[in-house]
């Protein structure tokens, strides 16, 4: 009998499998289930962006690109950030195009954290944050957020979690899975804390364009933050381009240089066809983003109202395409609720605990699906809750 585990690195072997992965396996056995578990847009990538990739292919654009990414793309990103985020980055040396935001975050952590150093992050959050730190032999320190704050990071909770070993802070507002956002006043307090404690900040703002109320404020735009922030973004959510795997990082030249070292050895460059499609998206995609955002907003208004009617209290997420209702009063835990709902009414949602311990008592419902499905799913959830 072979024991392959002896070949697996300890820090990988000890890494738990994603809770989403586990739930996905269960859902796959229920092919007729209505899924509110999808973490990506239901819209197909707008044709103009796809067509740009096809055109590039027809012209024989099949090579590697500059490690930093195509300069035309970086210039387009620079212009886009200036206009939409009030951020100014030099496309020559303060910007790096990556394979999705996941790669950008991974290399940001690997380029800046030494083994054993600590990274503060808020939970519930996207599933990769904690493992990314561990894979870099760093330690991730969760700061819980709560429904009382509509899952915004409370600066006092951040201060309480801080220890002198903390070197970095990872923020992701708007947040998957909670739809939480941070207003300017709180963001300024967080920024002040980061400056006081000399933290480097990774700010994953992938859902920024899907903000329905108020304007998104980028952390890097707060005075004193640009010089200590690695701004992370990509085309997946706003432009419905998840499969293109195209992200980017912006930050101080020295930090981008350090990330480039990891990127050039590990990845070389992002796929050229995705880069070409992204140029079209950044330069001419505004109308498509608005069309999709308006559709998400209408679905959000419906699903959140229905959750509250059904008796699953749910705050109105100001951004993202996720609602995060509380299921505590049903007497079930998140996992039981999701599992029984799937078994009894064939509706798939992801248990809040898949996004960290502080997601306990909640469940993530993605409204990135058609009205008909959302309406039917809500009727089924209502029947399920009524039967408990």
């Amino acid at each position: 009998m072979s024991d392959m585990s002896r070949f697996i690195a300890r820090h990988v072997r000890d890494l738990p499998k994603s809770g989403i992965r586990e739930f996905f396996s269960i859902v796959e056995k229920n092919p007729n289930a209505i899924s509110l578990g999808v973490g990506e847009p239901d819209f197909v990538t707008p044709w103009a962006f796809r067509e740009a990739a096809i055109f590039a292919l027809e012209r024989g654009k099949t090579s590697y690109t500059n490690n930093l990414g195509l300069i035309h793309l970086r210039k387009a990103i620079s212009k886009y950030l200036e206009k939409n985020f009030s951020l100014s980055y030099n496309p020559e040396n303060e910007m790096l195009v990556t394979v999705g935001v996941s790669e950008a975050l991974d290399i940001a952590i690997r380029a800046t954290l030494n083994p054993g150093e600590k990274l503060l992050y808020h939970e519930p959050c996207f599933v990769s944050y904690n493992p990314s730190a561990k894979l870099a032999h760093a330690e991730a320190v969760p700061v819980p957020t709560s429904s009382q704050d509509e899952f915004a990071l409370n600066p006092d909770a951040l201060a309480a979690a801080w220890t002198p070993e903390c070197k970095a802070l990872l923020l992701s507002f708007p947040t998957n899975p909670t739809g939480g956002v941070v207003n300017r006043e709180k963001l300024e307090r967080i920024a002040k804390f980061a400056i006081e404690k000399d933290l480097i900040v990774y700010s994953d703002e992938i859902y920024a364009e899907l903000t329905y109320e108020g304007n998104h404020v980028s952390l890097a735009s707060i005075p004193g933050m640009k010089e200590r922030t690695i701004f992370l973004h990509g085309v997946s959510k706003a432009f419905a381009m998840t499969g293109f795997r195209l992200g980017y990082a912006c930050g101080p030249k020295e930090l981008i240089d350090a990330m480039l070292k990891v990127h050039q050895y590990a990845m070389m460059c992002a796929p050229i066809l995705s880069q070409e499609a992204a140029i079209e998206a950044f330069l001419h995609g505004e109308g498509e983003v608005k069309r999709m955002r308006d559709a998400y907003r209408r679905r959000r208004d419906y699903i959140v109202r229905r959750f509250n009617e059904i008796g699953l209290p749910c705050h109105l997420p100001k951004a993202t395409f996720y609602a995060f209702p509380c299921i505590q009063q049903t007497g079930l835990d998140s996992h039981e609720f999701a599992l029984k709902l799937l078994q009894q009414q064939q509706v798939a949602m992801v248990p809040g605990t898949a996004f960290g311990a502080s997601g306990a008592g909640f469940i993530r419902a993605s409204f990135s699906t058609s009205y008909e499905r959302i309406v039917e799913a809500c009727s089924r959830i209502e029947r399920f809750v009524g039967s408990l």
């Binding site: 989403i20 578990g37 999808v38 209408r298 419906y302």
Partner: protein
């Protein structure tokens, strides 16, 4: 824009009850808003969008360019409105450029469209000339593609 109108423009087949459910309104409120939109001549009516190549009725459609003489009072309006009233005319626009009116005309066959043009249209006082273009094949109809993007069977039903 009216919320009901926004929902209608998304192009989903929803009845008043479904719209009311989604918008959190009473059915009577939705119907009242639809009625107002009709009264204000904004929302003109319902019609299914069919695939012209496959609707099975073998009807023909033609685009007709029409040059007309503007009148001292009313410009193009009187003649345009008169032409638009024919049931064969689905659409009638006043255009800039080389001709004045563009019509979309539907008929049971080529002869019936030809008859409409020669007998009814060309004989109207003020119509100077017509140019008829028969539609051969459609590739997109009122925003609908005929080969829709398929849901990718490999797209995971649950993802982070």
């Amino acid at each position: 824009m009216s919320r009901v109108l926004e929902l209608l423009l998304e192009g989903q087949a929803l009845d008043s009850a479904q719209m009311a459910e989604i918008l959190g309104m009473n059915v009577s409120e939705v119907e009242a808003e639809l009625e107002t939109l009709k009264q204000e001549n904004i929302f003109l009516g319902w019609r299914p969008v069919l695939q012209p190549n496959a609707s099975g009725d073998n009807q023909v459609r033609a685009l007709i360019e029409v040059k007309i003489t503007p009148e001292r009072e009313g410009g193009f309006d009187r003649i345009a409105e008169r032409i638009a009233k024919f049931s064969e005319v689905e659409t009638c626009y006043l255009m800039s450029g080389a001709y004045d009116l563009l019509l979309v005309v539907r008929g049971d066959n080529l002869q019936s469209v030809a008859r409409f043009v020669s007998v009814r249209l060309a004989s109207i006082n003020g119509v100077l000339s017509t140019a008829t273009h028969f539609m051969l094949c459609a590739y997109k109809e009122q925003g609908f593609l005929f080969e829709r993007d398929q849901r990718d069977p490999d797209k995971p039903s649950v993802s982070p």
